[in-house]
């Protein structure tokens, strides 16, 4: 009892003692914090106020050089050059109008530009510096720098100016940069800096992380005249990564030149052996250099609403019904699932009855009894309706996905649409209605809900041509490339489809006789497609429906047929039948490819048909 009493007593005294120790520590720490606050606020604050009159500290961001973009031959497509500029921060300028007026005495600011800056200041982040004048010479730059203390909110700086080469031809691929908007600034506050540009489309957007680099900073003491007294610290900027593309920009220009003859459309050209995208053309085009230099809001609005949507890359954003080009998928799926073989014959009487509806063949008189070879060659719809019906939509959709449809590719391009490979689950989720058998039939000939982009069609073609899982590639990496893996697919099935595709172009009665290669010792294999835009019943008997209602013309193909090297997909909007516009277009592109890359297979190298003069056929 006695011992416990003392233990208790001891602890009680210890508690009091230690409470006092802790209380003392608290008092000590508070005193320290108070002193430090006094030092920071009153002592340093006074010095800070003095510094405002005499010297001041200045932290300046060093913008990182944005990575260059070159094509496969080393041609520069996008580069960054140093640029001296003057900008103003509305939040710090006080009376922005007065500041601009004062600045106007040093450099020429047209009235229109002044009102634009004032308008911009109202709607953008008030801390975001607005560029007043870029591309200054050193004398003016130095002059403004000297007078900086009298110009509140005005900043000078060295930025990088983005320049695009062949911007009109590769604009859809390379994209362009622009001033960061509020959302982009919220993601990364550094983008607030004047002259900082972020990718807005194409690779500039898709590869922003790699291209942007990381900014550095310099901290300096600056005197009242704006002169640097001493440097206090610096962290260098790290330039962004330079990109080398798989694109051949001169080929791209040639392809566009040829495509423009046909009006609106898109062409995708792949190296079928490794997935390199050699060209990716869309018309109409626009000039990225003009955008990078900054265009007026009026010109921008005009560009956005221009006919044909020049800003959109149709090769990756244009979702078209693949029409008969989709018959590659249907045929391969049928053979793979063994619902047909090469000799299975279907008799085409011009139409097929299904669930009380009549599904017409494009040839209303019918093709008679046809097997795969003949059906593909003459593009018999009834044959493929039958195959699709036997397959069912799920097996058909599965094959479409295996051939690369219905997906976007991780090639760095931001402007990709996935197209659409429909199946009952999709329809139930999106349209809340069950799948009808007739829709399977339509899907079997690439109409109905099926949608694909030209790039996807080129991938599909390359995969059929090589039997390999070709994935399109736009940016070369240092690792080099292995040939893509073989697809787990019956070689016999692939071979049968390929044989029929050779017949489409090269045999009597094939739908794409207009695409047969001339002057090249290689065969083109391919498939035409004619995508209905409007029901044509109303136009039967008359010559042709008006332009905007005419069918889209499609062609997919690869060459050489026996050892595939190139895969091409071409879409000409409202170009009529596939054999009429897209097939000759693809032929000309293919001939150009052989002239450039495989001259040994070109029969008459000098007298080769110049691209662009062989329309029709």
């Amino acid at each position: 009892m006695f011992e416990k009493e003392t233990a208790d007593e001891k602890l009680r005294r210890r508690l009091t003692r230690r409470s006092l120790v802790i209380g003392g520590a608290q008092a000590g720490v508070f005193a320290l914090l108070g002193l430090k606050l006094y030092d920071m606020q009153v002592v340093y604050g006074r010095r800070y106020a003095l510094l405002a009159d005499e010297n001041r500290l200045d932290t300046q961001l060093i913008l990182a050089r944005r990575g260059e973009i070159r094509d496969r031959n080393g041609v520069v497509l996008a580069e960054s050059r140093e640029d001296l500029r003057i900008s103003v921060v509305p939040a710090l300028a006080g009376d922005l109008e007065k500041t601009l007026e004062r600045l106007g005495k040093l450099i020429d600011i047209p009235d229109a530009e002044r009102t634009e800056i004032l308008a911009l200041a109202k709607k953008s982040d008030r801390l975001q510096p607005l560029v007043v004048r870029a591309g200054l010479n050193w004398e003016t730059y130095a002059h403004v720098n000297m007078l900086l203390p009298q110009l509140p909110g005005v900043e000078t700086g060295i930025a990088w100016r983005r320049s695009y080469w062949r911007g009109i031809d590769v604009g859809h691929i390379v994209g362009y940069v622009g001033r960061a908007d509020r959302r982009e600034i919220a993601d990364e506050p550094v983008r607030r800096q004047a002259g900082q540009r972020v990718g807005k489309s194409g690779l500039e957007l898709g590869m922003e992380k790699e291209l942007a680099g990381t900014p550095g900073f310099i901290r300096r003491e600056i005197d009242a005249r704006g002169r640097v007294v001493r440097e206090l610290g610096r962290q260098p900027a790290h330039a962004g990564r330079d990109l080398v593309l798989t694109i051949d920009s001169s080929l791209q220009s040639k392809v566009l030149e040829r495509l423009r003859l046909d009006g609106l459309g898109a062409v995708a050209v792949l190296d079928a052996t490794n997935g390199d995208i050699l060209a990716l053309a869309s018309t109409p085009t626009f000039d990225t250099q003009a955008l990078a230099e900054g265009i007026s809001s009026e010109a921008w609005r005009e560009l956005v609403s221009a006919p044909g949507h020049p800003l959109a890359s149709k090769a990756t954003r244009g979702e078209y019904p693949p029409a008969s080009t989709f018959k590659l998928v249907t045929a391969l799926a049928g053979l793979e699932a063994k619902v047909i073989d090469e000799s299975t014959t279907v008799t085409c009487g011009g139409s097929l009855e299904h669930a009380g509806h009549r599904f017409g063949c494009w040839s209303s008189s019918g093709h008679g009894p046809v097997a795969l070879h003949e059906a593909m060659k003459r593009s018999c719809d009834v044959y493929f309706y039958t195959v699709a019906r036997k397959l069912g939509i799920n097996r058909l959709a599965d094959m479409a996905r295996r051939l690369g449809l219905g997906q976007t590719y991780p090639c760095g391009l931001s402007d990709q649409r996935p197209g659409l490979v429909p199946d009952p689950l999709w329809k139930l989720a999106i349209k809340s209605t069950p799948w009808y058998g007739g829709e399977t039939l339509l899907a079997g000939i690439g109409q109905g809900f099926v949608l694909a982009t030209p790039l996807q069609l080129a991938v599909m073609t390359a995969r059929v041509a090589t039997g390999r899982e070709v994935v399109p590639r736009l940016v070369k990496d240092d690792a080099g490339s292995l040939p893509p893996a073989l697809m787990p697919m019956s070689a016999a099935a692939l071979q049968a489809v390929r044989k029929s595709l050779v017949a489409v172009v090269n045999e009597q009665g094939g739908t794409a006789g207009s695409a047969v290669l001339t002057g090249v010792k290689a065969k083109l294999a391919g498939k035409t497609g004619t995508a209905q835009v409007a029901r044509l019943k109303n136009y039967q008997g008359t010559d042709e429906p008006p332009g905007s209602l005419r069918d889209h013309s499609l062609f997919v193909g690869y060459a050489p047929a026996d050892q595939p090297r190139f895969a091409v997909a071409a879409v000409v909007e409202h170009g009529g039948a596939g054999s009429k516009s897209a097939a000759p277009l693809a032929r000309d592109v293919m001939q150009e490819l052989f002239r450039r890359y495989v001259p040994e297979l070109v029969a008459e190298p000098a007298a080769g048909q110049p691209v662009g003069e062989s329309k029709g056929g």
Binding site: K4, A7, K10, R12, S19, F30, L33, K36, G45
Partner: protein, 390 residues
């Protein structure tokens, strides 16, 4: 083993009846309300001179919280002793379910919500831990306090919630829980030798650990310790806060006139960095005033603790004092760049519901315990709850 429990009539008296409420403790709600009021003004300014979105809800919480404080202060002290263990277990349970049902905000899971109310279990845990440890040392026979087994037990009581908080991840709160727990053990009289041994082993182990870190881990630690290494990232806040404080000077730029904070240069200016806003607009007088109010709060708590008679009361009150002190010291140290940015709010002033309510609740409990001087819970003659030795 018999769990003997003998109520003594006086023990169940409310502190008011016990006659101890009208003491220096009465200053506590006054100081707390003043600090909360400063918070309302600062938040009004942080929103650019508007009651929404911060100031109005801060004010509502302050009013509810002060009412809660007064309510808790008149509850009988014994209640806290009885409730300590269940309260701790409940808080631990809440903390444990955060990873499953918690919401992720700024990359860490700290919140759970039910019935439209979001709470931060870690905030509740701080208070529960103080009460649990105070109760533990109330129950523990005195001669066992420094026995290794009975030192390990409270260490576990501290380590489990600290570990859960660390998982969220919230390093600042985890360290704060550990520090509070250790301070409680120190106060309870655990032999100094343990603390010395602990310090020595940390000092020995730290370089070993450092040597085994990867380069990128080291860089992270270095940036944590010296934010200016990464001026565009973690250091940005600290750098801008420093400019804001310096711009305030002695008497500040005036209410609603702080350009640094008004212009959003200082992120989080309504939560953890609210002191930089006060410093810019009200100057050193403002920041020193806030610190002075907290010092007064700590002084009152210390006096209450010294004046209280029971071991439980004294420990719990000191525990609350340590909690408040650590928050203020870490937050201020963080804003003025002495400590790394760990996300500890300034009690009662920073925006945040759970922190405000648990803070005021803790002060209320301390006030009640301090007043319950006559209702001694101490087992001087006869432990009221104890494991009898048969």
């Amino acid at each position: 083993m018999v769990l003997a429990f003998r109520p003594e009539p006086s023990v169940w008296q409310s502190p008011a009846k016990a006659g101890g409420l009208f003491t220096v403790g009465l200053l506590l709600p006054v100081i707390a309300a003043t600090l909360g009021g400063i918070g309302v003004l600062a938040l009004y300014s942080a929103a650019g001179g508007a009651m929404e979105p911060f100031a109005m809800s801060h004010l509502m919480r302050l009013i509810i919280g002060i009412a809660l404080l007064l309510l808790l202060a008149i509850l009988p002290a014994r209640l806290w002793l009885l409730a300590a263990a269940p309260f701790y277990v409940a808080a631990l349970g809440l903390l444990a379910v955060v990873p499953w049902i918690g919401a992720t905000i700024s990359g860490s899971q700290r919140w759970i919500s039910f019935a439209g109310i979001s709470v931060q279990p870690a905030e509740i845990m701080k208070l529960a831990l103080v009460l649990a440890l105070a109760a533990y040392y109330q129950m523990l026979p005195r001669h066992l306090v420094s026995r290794p087994l009975f030192v390990l037990l409270p260490l576990a009581v501290v380590a489990v919630p600290a570990g859960l908080v660390l998982e969220q991840p919230d390093l600042g709160t985890a360290l704060l829980i550990v520090a509070t727990g250790l301070a409680m053990m120190f106060l309870a009289g655990v032999r100094s030798l343990y603390f010395v041994a602990g310090l020595v082993s940390v000092a020995v182990l730290a370089p070993v650990l450092w040597a085994n870190l990867h380069d990128y881990q080291r860089e992270r630690v270095l940036v944590f310790l010296d934010p200016e290494r990464d001026l565009l990232g973690a250091g940005y806040q600290v750098y801008q806060a420093r400019i804001a404080l310096a711009a305030g000077g002695m008497s500040g730029k005036g209410f609603l006139e702080g350009s640094q904070t008004q212009l959003d240069f200082v992120p989080e200016n309504h939560t953890d960095f609210i002191l930089s806003l006060i410093g810019e607009e009200l100057g050193f007088l403002g920041t020193a005033g806030v610190l002075g109010l907290f010092a007064a709060l700590l002084l009152v708590l210390g006096l209450l603790s010294l004046g209280a008679r029971g071991r439980f009361q004294r420990l719990a009150i000191m525990g609350v004092s340590v909690l408040v002190f650590l928050h203020v010291a870490i937050n201020t140290g963080m804003v003025i760049g002495l400590l790394p940015v760990v996300g500890v709010p300034l009690p009662l002033v920073s925006f945040g519901g759970t922190a405000m309510l648990t803070g005021l609740a803790a002060i209320g409990i301390a006030m009640g315990l301090g007043a319950a001087g006559k209702a001694d819970l101490g087992p001087r003659r006869r432990p009221t709850w104890r494991l009898t030795r048969g």
